[in-house]
Subunit: 252 residues, 2 copies
Amino acid sequence: MPFQPVTAARLSGAVVEQIELLILRGVLRPGERLPAERDLAERLGVSRPSLREALGALQEKGLLEARAGAGVFVAEGLRSVFPPALVRLFAGHREAVVDYIGFRRDLEGQAAERAAVHGTDGDHAVIAAALAAMEEAHGRRSTPEEEAELDAGFHMAILEAAHNVVLLHMMRAMFGLLREGVFYNRQIMFRNQPTRARLLEQHRSIAAAILGRDPAAARAAVEAHMDFVEQALAEQVRAEGHEAVARQRLER
Amino acid sequence: MPFQPVTAARLSGAVVEQIELLILRGVLRPGERLPAERDLAERLGVSRPSLREALGALQEKGLLEARAGAGVFVAEGLRSVFPPALVRLFAGHREAVVDYIGFRRDLEGQAAERAAVHGTDGDHAVIAAALAAMEEAHGRRSTPEEEAELDAGFHMAILEAAHNVVLLHMMRAMFGLLREGVFYNRQIMFRNQPTRARLLEQHRSIAAAILGRDPAAARAAVEAHMDFVEQALAEQVRAEGHEAVARQRLER
DNA sequence: GAACGTGGTCAAATCACTTGACCAATTCCG
DNA sequence: CGGAATTGGTCAAGTGATTTGACCACGTTC
């Protein structure tokens, strides 16, 4: 029968969740001091010991730092690009995925435009080669891991062709996180046959627009691609939800 | 400062939530008997008094019925189409919105096909009149409430033109729920100027395909329309989320 | 009709949280 | 520079939520 054990949610857990979200969304910034414990406890409507339990958990996660007599601060270390504590935070929240795709959509759209305009013949050759590798892999039924790696290579080639070092380093860090599966399991995009075909088609459109030196078309193609990825991921999440419900129905 | 009071979630609340979801998803069906209290308490990992508190709340909501000596049953009354208890359940869960749109997409796609093939000249005249009313309203800046009402009239005209009484009654009930704002506030679709324009465009496409007796085009136009509605709603939810975060940042 | 299994009720014990107090460290102000 | 104020850190007693365990009444089954 499809019943799951429930656990009494601790008050401190709810406090942790709220403060984590404020950090994730940039409302609480690195180095910033939180309200004093007595004040914060009052605002949250909890006792100081309960609040302190939550603050302790957040310190263990590397998100907060407490100094007796001085106050509680958002960890300075969160200022660096993608410190481990922030990566764990991203991994635990779905809205980071949506924001990531939106962000990537904007930046890669821009990169594609720039690659169409400023890309050298050498850059364009690298992009063409990356696409050729994907076509070849597609033909011989490679693994989803391999195709995901080629996909990253293709997108990195475009980013390099954009000749913007800030953009490049930012996106390199992003792809690092994507490889670690922080945002989503990128291989799922290549497991489904029709999706594989659609992705290749979109990559062809992107490459054609860049190599044809059509910045507007390049941008539009990238945006359409990211829209498709977002939709496919949403579909995946829904399908997984449906699978879980079907299993529950079967369990009776 | 952007901190919200937190309240200790009661154990019984978590139990209520789980059983509600099982009912919403059709895992627990009307008339079906739940496991005995002692058994269920064990599976959920809670005490009988806590479980009974949850079962009591579910009975008050009209979802369960208990009979001393016989057992606890999912309410028989949930068998009827959209009983109040089920409507309240829909209203409280976002996944019902997604399912509703998917369901409506399928049924209205079918209805549009049928309207293209089987609709009489009279039916088609009604559809054309409904579209004309929407064009007229669009031109003179009507209220979102008024446009939502005309929208429902347009879709009902198509459903009537499909000449399938089961479909018609089913969708009438659906539109009744939509009017009550169970799934979403339907007027939000008409508040945004570009969205208004897009909706009218899509309604024109739907009408043109039906009146041109092109079933495949009619279905495709309806599906594209529902996809757009779903996307616009998702955007709305995200925008509201962003607005809330912006307010929190401002609050410091 | 008796036994078993069910829902319904309740008291005592345990755990999570609150209240209130006190101590040590840091900051601020005169 | 020292004292006052504010901060974090710790802890005991009280309160409410939950668990444990028991008992009673009703319905079903053999």
